[in-house]
Amino acid sequence: MRTSERLPGHPDFLWATADPKSSYDVVVVGGGGHGLATAYYLAANHGITNVAVIEKGWLAGGNMARNTTIIRSNYLWDESAGIYEHSLGLWEGLEEELDCEILFSQRGVMNVAHSLGDVREGRRRVNANQLNGIDAQWLEPDEVGKLAPVLDVTDRPRYPVMGATFQPRGGIAKHDYVAWGYARAAAALGVDIIQDCEVQGFETDGDTVTAVKTSRGRIACGRLALCAAGHSGVLASQLGVRLPVQSHPLQALVSELLDQVLDTVVMSNAVHVYVSQAHKGELVMGAGVDAHLGYGQRGSFHVIEEQMAAAVELFPVFARAHVLRTWAGIVDVTPDASPIVGHLAQWANAYVNCGWGTGGFKATPGIGSVFADTVAHEAPHRLAEPYALDRFVSGRLIDEHGAAAVAH
């Protein structure tokens, strides 16, 4: 019987759970990837170490623990290319920076076209990427078949493959390792990582947020940085700000461990499924959001069924694989499918980072550094500027779904 290679191990020590102090220079709400990365870069890049990351549950147990870890930067618009490419650059040095394994694997991300319209939009995006200096290729069906032999590129499927965009530098990483790596590095620099502590309200004075009220008492804050992903709307509303975000369940699933059949990440927006075969051999798959709104972290079963039908249609060999586990996260979706980063409306010392919806894992290092810079300098970082909340008033939207319908 053939045995498998063990994955690289974990560091001997990750982080020590801290009890809240009475006050911090910066309170980061939300201990997901974005909150942890923000705290790390505040300490590492800006020397701000009197920082708390406050997490209501177990650290990085929200979307950070639930996402399908696709990393790429081949977005359409210049603004998006800016932030995601910045992020991809950081991913490429992250194991060294954090001094721990994150299983970052640049196996390429393919986005498959099934109609003349898909081809047109795919080509448009590839062209934009290339002119922005982002590695992007257009693949004809036979080239798709070479990179992903189990993908049926014949004309048998209901919607045959007509080509694909491909970003060789894209790939996957191990989400938990990333979160823990940031937590470890941040804690080592003096950041307090506080778990099982829910922010339930705020104290304010004039245009300043003076403290967060938590399930473990009052914590005064010099500056407030919200990184609460699916719950951002709830927190902002406690400060009287109605964010233009809607929270949807987004589901994913894994199979059992299987011999390697797929060496790259394949996404198909048209037939709603995407898949990678993770390091241990399990197929990791997802689809689009559940249509309903809610905070329940529970999705509808038919969404899984439809996704499996799409998967089996494109990858006939998958028919015999098994779904081992399904789950859902809660993703915060904005009207233009681009994030919100910057000052939280009228509050002088409060900043918000949210709206990453179905695709913010790949942004973790990028937004961590950009948001930390924004909070540290009390002014938006160059790459954050386009993502200010007031674009929903001005109308200067960065619409990423209409153009390329790219989700993850």
């Binding site: 037939v271 329940g296 060999v317 998958f318 028919a319 399904t326």
Partner: protein, 900 residues
């Protein structure tokens, strides 16, 4: 040596021997065996191996709790990672051993999987004693009952009574795998897996049941939990209850010389059963210091020594790594026993997975020594109750941490205390997680991978919680479990896909004329779910030539196309006009009966969402057409606005897309053709003007004729009830010299006129003004401050910046090089290597044009309307084409041809 007993085995049909094979070795079995019982019955103890360690692994359990014995099925369609304890044998079954990782056989799996929807008042999960009792009670109330049980048959004496009840449906070999919101449970019925080649061809292999139940009763029983010690993974180490079950169900002796080590009374009863079956029990050890006297007496009667306060501290393996010796520490020190079986039982975990999936809370119960259902789901939409042993766990269990783990294990040994054998994860990993600072059970699960394998922690999960509690020095209650997630047991992708494969994976929509197109052999284009004729090649003709010919025909003569896929929505009600004024940018309420108007819809951000025509059929009946792709979403939009924002408006919407077939007739000669087909219709320019409709008899058929044009030529749309679509197509086709054309020609013709296609020339970032269609926004509505969807957004500064992207035309400067759709527009001569290269827009549509005598394109270009005549490079895959910016309406800008 065979371990098959000469008699016994409640599930066996000894009259039907079969032969199966593992790694090519034949193994005799009986119908009714599982792979696990057949292997044990033939003393085949090696079933799998540790994924990393390669250590030999055997059968530990007897059901869904099995975490070791997974194999690759190679007979039939093949299947990876199948649990040997639930795989029923049949003649010809063949399997291969695997080390924690399966493989996907090549080729398409043609197995048929079905889905069934069922409704009932009461769903009982589990057909044991408690389940049958609950089902009979419900049946007596006269309500519909569904009972699901994962075994081949119910064994309760009352099963016959239950099955004969008219309102009761009993599903055996059926596992309930999911408890979802809204009374929705999902189950899998294995219908022919156990039949092999004898499976009737007309019966689906498995069925996925969607059960909607008013009330759910969980009679799911328990799952046995092991005890752990160094080298606890050897073949020969089994669960005590499972060992006794192999005797009872399958007439198989799980071993010949054994030691039993338990922590509760049920385990002692299993020891008695093993002794009675003929296993030579050297000793029975119990963690506890006191046990129920009757059980102690029963063992004494059989001459089996019982040691209390004892624990297994290790095992030795033979050359193959199989269990060979047990080191048992009792009050008198460590004694070594030569054995081939070590049967252990740490307790019985209530099977609470479905309860937990439904959102129910769990609490640690010291009496049950397990997690039991506590608070029901917070906003339980349906009554969910638990009955039977799923509530109580094991009898007489100890409550001390010793239940889970005994003695000190040094770090070297800890690496051989397996807490998830399939993942080769051990006590050492848990200790490492703790030292690394982790305290949450969720973190430890992720750190160690314990509980992530095919059994999803059913085997060792609760035990691991206990171990973790010990390591952390905290009570089990505080540590808690991880969340149980669906599915309860693994589900094949193919089963979930069901029949939604191939042509059925998404409905194929065809028009009423489709058989004509097939007969003509035309290439089809997928447009959403529709199959549409792409072009109509003549013998040997290329697409390029066909499209040029079709274009020429429409421009110079007359052509016809199947336009049936246009979305069509009929609106009724006194307030339809008002409703349409609010969803279109234009003014619709003023439209007169008999007239047609073009309309644009925006989304709230002011961006173009769809376009089409509005015809007023009578005072309170209107017909909208939409783009093919947006038919459903426009209907949704109308319903959403009306239902959520304007319920006061009297307006109702009905999709009639499929009910009407449409033939578009276009070209300078279309009037003559129509006149010939409809002698009674006044087709004169005055009698039937552009943007009007008439009911007429065309070729003897009742047709609604609309004079509208998507080609810029004189044109008509002929709408006929779908049943006559084919007849109308034939009639027009035989009217003489009418050239059929497809979607490609349609695109060229409309592009030559600068008519944008929503979704191609727009992408959700384009306003009507950007398209040069400011005229489509009603000045009257704006003047009067009347609101419509997108109105506010359209007046923002951002929407009126002069450098917004405008729709323009492009022609190649050399007059001949084709421009590629999707090209990005950069400064003429820009150095493409000097990234980032500033981009000013992109090409949305591009074609060859006979009418213009040159390739041309439509593009969205920053400030485009102010850049006419400017030269740019259109870059596709790094290749630039020099282009000149033109008006977006290259052909007949005055519209004389269309309106004449």
């Amino acid at each position: 040596m065979s371990s098959r007993l000469p008699t016994g085995g409640t599930r066996l049909d000894r009259s039907r021997p079969v032969t199966i094979s593992i790694d090519g070795q034949d193994v005799p079995a009986f119908v009714g065996d599982t792979l696990a019982s057949a292997l044990l019955g033939s003393d085949v103890r090696l079933v799998s191996a540790g994924i990393y360690s390669g250590r030999p692994r055997g059968v530990m359990g007897v059901g869904a709790e099995e975490s070791n014995a997974f194999v690759q099925v190679t007979s039939g369609p093949g299947e990876p990672m199948v649990r040997a304890t639930e795989l029923e044998v049949h003649e010809g079954l063949s399997v291969e051993r695997i080390a924690g990782r399966g493989w996907l056989p090549e080729g398409i799996d043609h197995t048929r999987y079905d889905k069934v929807w069922a409704h009932c008042e009461v769903l009982v999960v589990g057909g044991g004693e408690a389940g049958v009792t609950a089902a009979l009670e419900a049946a007596a109330r006269g309500v519909r009952v569904v009972v699901c049980d994962d075994r081949p048959a119910l064994t309760d004496a009352r099963a016959g009574e239950l099955v004969s009840h008219p309102d009761v449906r009993v599903l055996t070999r059926t596992t309930v795998v999911g408890a979802h919101d809204h009374h929705h449970l999902v189950a899998v019925e294995r219908r022919t897996d156990h039949l092999g080649d004898d499976a009737p061809p007309d019966v689906a292999r498995r069925r996925l049941w969607h059960v909607k139940a008013a009330e759910v009763v969980l009679a799911t029983g328990t799952q046995e939990r092991p005890l752990v010690f160094p080298d606890n993974d050897r073949p020969g180490v089994m669960l005590a209850g499972a060992a006794a079950t192999y005797v009872r169900r399958y007439g198989v002796l799980p071993g010949h010389r054994g030691v039993v080590w338990v922590a509760h009374d049920d385990g002692l009863a299993d020891a008695v059963a093993l002794a009675d079956a003929g296993v030579e029990l050297l000793v029975v050890a119990d963690v506890r210091t006191t046990v129920t006297p009757a059980l102690a007496d029963a063992l004494a009667e059989r001459g089996v020594p019982l040691v209390l306060g004892a624990e297994v501290v290790g095992t030795d393996g033979d050359d193959d790594g199989f269990l060979y010796r047990v080191h048992l520490r009792g009050p008198d020190g460590v004694v070594v026993h030569d054995v081939d079986l070590l049967a252990v039982s740490g307790g019985l975990n209530p099977a609470v997975q479905l309860w937990s999936q439904a959102g129910g809370k769990l609490a640690w119960s010291t009496e049950a020594a397990g997690f039991v259902p506590a608070a029901p789901p917070p906003d339980a939409a349906y009554p969910l109750s638990v009955v039977g042993s799923a509530l109580t766990g094991a009898t007489g269990a100890v409550t001390a941490p010793a239940t889970f783990f005994c003695g000190d294990v040094d770090d070297a040994d800890a690496a051989r205390v397996y807490l998830d054998p399939q993942r080769d994860a051990t006590l050492a990993d848990v200790r490492h997680a703790h030292l690394a600072g982790l305290t949450s059970v969720e973190h430890v699960k992720r750190f160690t991978t314990i509980g992530t394998a095919s059994d999803q922690g059913r085997g060792f999960g609760v035990l691991t919680v206990g171990v973790l509690a010990q390591v952390l020095g905290r009570p089990v209650t505080e540590v808690g479990t991880t969340t149980y997630r669906p599915p309860y047991t693994p589900l094949p992708f193919g089963l979930l896909a069901g029949r939604d494969r191939g042509a059925l994976s998404d409905p194929v929509r065809v028009t009423a004329m489709h058989d004509r197109h097939l007969a003509a052999g035309v290439p089809l284009e997928d447009v959403g779910q529709w199959k549409r004729p792409w072009y109509f090649p003549q013998r040997g003709e290329s697409m390029h030539d066909a499209v040029l010919r079709e274009c020429r025909a429409v421009r110079e003569d007359v052509g016809m196309m199947d336009a049936s896929t246009l979305g069509k929505i009929v609106c009724h009600g006194a307030d339809v006009g008002e409703m349409l004024d609010r969803v279109y940018t234009g003014l619709m309420s003023s439209l007169k009966v008999g007239k047609v108007r073009y309309g644009v819809m925006c989304s709230p951000d002011g961006m173009v969402a769809d376009d089409g025509t509005v015809a007023r059929l009578s005072d309170d009946e209107w017909l909208l057409t939409t783009t093919t792709g947006n038919a459903a979403s426009v209907l949704d939009t109308l319903e959403e606005w009306q239902q959520t924002e304007w319920p006061d408006l009297d307006a109702r919407f009905t999709s009639v897309t499929e009910q009407w077939a449409v033939v578009a007739l276009a070209g300078p000669r279309s009037r003559d053709v129509l006149a010939g087909l409809a002698p009674d219709l006044d087709v004169s320019a005055e009698g039937f003007a552009f943007m009007e409709w008439r009911d007429a008899t065309v070729a003897g058929l009742p047709v609604r004729v609309m004079r509208i044009s998507f080609s810029g030529e004189l044109a008509y749309e002929l709408h006929v009830p779908a049943a006559w679509g084919g007849a109308l197509w034939d009639a027009v086709a035989s009217a003489g010299g009418v050239t059929p054309y497809g979607t490609e020609t349609m695109h060229v013709l409309r592009a030559e006129k600068g008519y944008p296609i929503v979704g191609q020339d727009t992408d959700g970032t384009v306003t009507p003004v950007d398209l040069g269609m400011a005229w489509a926004i009603s000045p009257k509505k704006v003047r009067e401050g009347r609101d419509f969807v997108g109105a506010r957004s359209l007046v923002r500064d951002e929407s009126n910046r002069p450098d917004r992207r405008h729709l323009v035309g492009l022609v190649p400067v050399d007059g001949s090089t084709a421009i590629a759709e999707g090209s990005q527009l950069v400064d003429a001569g820009a150095d493409l290597a000097a990234v980032p290269v500033p981009m000013h827009g992109h090409v949305t549509s591009a074609y060859a044009s006979v009418a213009l005598g040159t390739p041309f394109a439509l593009a969205l270009l920053d400030g485009g309307r102010d850049r006419l005549g400017e030269e740019l490079d259109a870059v596709d895959l790094r290749v630039p084409v020099r282009v000149r910016v033109t008006e977006p309406v290259p052909y007949d800008p005055e519209g004389e041809r269309r309106d004449g």
